[in-house]
Amino acid sequence: MNAHAPREAVLKMYAARPDIHPREVQGRFATLRWVGVWFTQLLFYGLPWLRLDGRQAVLFDLEARQFHLFGLTLWPQDFIYLAGLLIVCAYGLFVVTAVAGRVWCGYACPQTVYTEIFLWIERRIEGRRSARIRLDRQPWNAEKLGKRGAKHLAWAAVALWTGFTFVGYFTPIRVLGHELATFTAGPWELFWVLFYGFATYGNAGWMREQVCKYMCPYARFQSAMFDRDTLVISYDAGRGEPRAAARGSAGAGAKGDCIDCGVCVQVCPTGIDIRNGLQYECIGCAACVDGCDGVMDKVGKPHGLIRYATENALAQHLTNAQVRRRILRPRVLGYAMVLAAIASVLIGSLLLRTPLKLDVIRDRGAMGREVEGGLIENVYRLQVMNTDGRAHRFRIEVHGLPSAAIADGQTIELAGASARAVPVRVRADPHAAHTGSNPIAFTVTATDDPATAVTEKAVFIVPR
């Protein structure tokens, strides 16, 4: 039916990773990215070494189930704060992404930051882009072996230190350091140091942009936050086209600013050509902006052939002021309002939380028993947890039924940061309650601080 007989070819379903040797770039955004690297890494490598009140200031003690964040100690029961923190992080990402695209990816994400560090090491040892490409192509000899060996050693050193630091958040880092130095670290500590070290080495040294392209879930769902007023790295096609190469054939009449030097492609860590428009691989690092600005300086043209711009700004030629005004659009305001609401609730509840936790478990063995005086007795187990650092004496009270009273005069002493199960007997007059279950409540109050009090609901059962 067709004049051309359909020919066939073999498609490889799995493609080899293309070699990407990002070219070094300098400029405003490169500086900003290094600020990001220094800020996040000083924080990450430095925090576990800080001390407060005779202990590590930031320590997620899994064994004791206590998370220390400076003066704050969180318990497993405070897990809701982690959920809150994650929601705040998510909405923070939403706001930033709606305003300026993948800013997180480009400047602060560990994947970007460690790749930046590893690239820096690579440059120090193997040289600039052209030297690295040459080294890549040349056969294995002493020079290549030496350079590659030195690079991987340096990478491994950074990676191991990173793994060590990470584990140092979960087990006291000074002790861990001493154990590693004397070869007495436990098998699991050693395993996790090596595991996170290997993950850093593999991801920042070998996987790089593959992580962003194929593994990262955020990279994919961030596009849902984009709209036509989101700032993205854009090539101003209206100003750049036709390019120099095309100009040659089209004659001198057409004058696009793009000289087709290819710098924007060479500096790109994910190896794309930004002039093809917004692509899912673009992590928003603005290396191409810096690269192009440098070239524009040399050819005497204004900056901004590649720049942060919104789709609308390019299409409707909006001024910067107009673009800025559009930041306050419903989508951004909505994200920001939710973010502010959750953040304030989170901080408020953290500040106002009581350092006392209470769980009431009714004895399930029996409905209730009759004791002298015709009273009905129910037994409860109260799990009282003093999350304060100091010891307290606590008073246990019951209310909700007029005649309900605790059989033994109830005060208990609890050491700082400790928990205890306390059996409690409650007696009530069956004539003042109905047959079946009656709602009651227990209140535990610190005798030295009435504000430290927790109330928990329970049920008092009068058997038929």
Partner: protein, 323 residues
């Protein structure tokens, strides 16, 4: 070793497992390249050819090659696992790993860690252990874990489960008797006595007599009539009805009732008898834990002051029992 009752099933599972792994490898290999049509210009079609809603096409973008490596890695892992660990039919694996042995090894580690502490207590008299605040805390946790389901978190018992905080003991309240009870368990049986006592009226009369023994309100005529029939009960409870701890027969003259002291309940007890079991904990907990538990239970009816006065070697000032 293997749980198969028939050798066939071991082979059946092994063959399916090997075929499945080989099948995965073949599928992966055969699907890593695909013959595709070229368009008119000789270009490879980069879509799957599926079109939805008139113009939505599906790209046929290749996956990264390292991803395929991960798939092959899972096959390598599966083979390595099946060689080392049990999984391939009835084959036990080169490491000889067994869940039961792993459990025992963990128990051994725990014993090595906590055994010395319990051994220390085991060498002490129960009365002395009962004075030790740490032992009491351990005992309380053991009690809440293993005993509270029946005896209640406060150890005051329920219907059919004795109160452990009073001075009334079915099998004796001496430390050795309590320890015996926990180690070996108890089986308390009262046979149905209706026929031995006589008619329904006789049963009612005996019930009233029994109630009168503990000064409960009872009908004097029935009490007088029932007293004559109590002989049937005296074999275990004794003529004076003070019970017999060797048999676990309760004292009927106190105000403590295991099943209830109303006329109906007592009559039911006489007519139908009672059958009750306390499980043995010796093998499960080990003597060390039972010893500490015994001290805790003994301490419930012997406040620290009483214990110390009774001559136990009271060393540290014991905290006042705050239950």
């Amino acid at each position: 070793m293997s749980d198969f009752f028939n050798e066939f099933w071991g082979w059946y599972v092994a063959v399916i497992t090997v075929l499945a792994i080989a099948g995965c490898a073949i599928l992966l290999w055969s699907q890593s390249r695909q013959k595709l049509k070229l368009d008119k210009d000789g270009k490879l079609l980069d879509t799957t050819g599926h079109v939805w809603d008139e113009d939505l096409t599906e790209l046929n973008t290749p996956m990264p090659r390292w991803w395929m490596g991960l798939f092959y890695l899972t096959i390598v892992f599966a083979v390595g696992y099946l060689v080392l660990y049990p999984g391939l039919g009835a084959y036990g694996g080169r490491l000889g790993w067994q869940s039961g042995a792993a459990y025992k090894a963990e128990l051994k580690v725990a014993d090595a860690a906590y055994g010395p502490l319990f051994d220390t207590y085991l060498r002490q008299d129960v009365r002395q252990v009962a004075l030790d605040p740490q032992a009491r805390a351990i005992g309380e946790r053991l009690f809440l874990n293993y005993c509270a389901q029946c005896h209640g978190s406060d150890a005051r018992g329920n219907k059919g489960y004795p109160n452990l905080t009073d001075d009334d003991w079915l099998y004796g309240g001496e430390p050795s008797a309590i320890k015996d009870t926990i180690m070996k368990g108890r089986h308390g049986v009262m046979p149905p006595m209706g026929a031995a006592v006589g008619s329904d009226r006789d049963v009612e009369n005996v019930a009233h007599y029994v109630m009168s023994l503990s000064s409960a309100p009872a009908d004097p005529i029935k009490v007088a009539l029932g007293k004559g029939k109590f002989g049937a009960c005296a074999g275990c409870h004794g003529m004076d009805a003070h019970g017999n701890q060797a048999l676990g027969a309760p004292n009927l003259t106190d105000k403590v009732w295991l099943y209830g002291g109303s006329a109906e309940t007592v009559m039911e007890t006489i007519r139908k008898g009672r059958n009750n079991t306390m499980p043995a904990w010796g093998e499960f907990l080990g003597e060390g834990k039972v010893h500490v538990l015994t001290a805790y239970v003994y301490g419930l009816s012997h406040p620290a002051g009483v214990l110390a006065a009774a001559g136990a070697h009271a060393a540290p000032a014991p905290e006042v029992a705050a239950k």
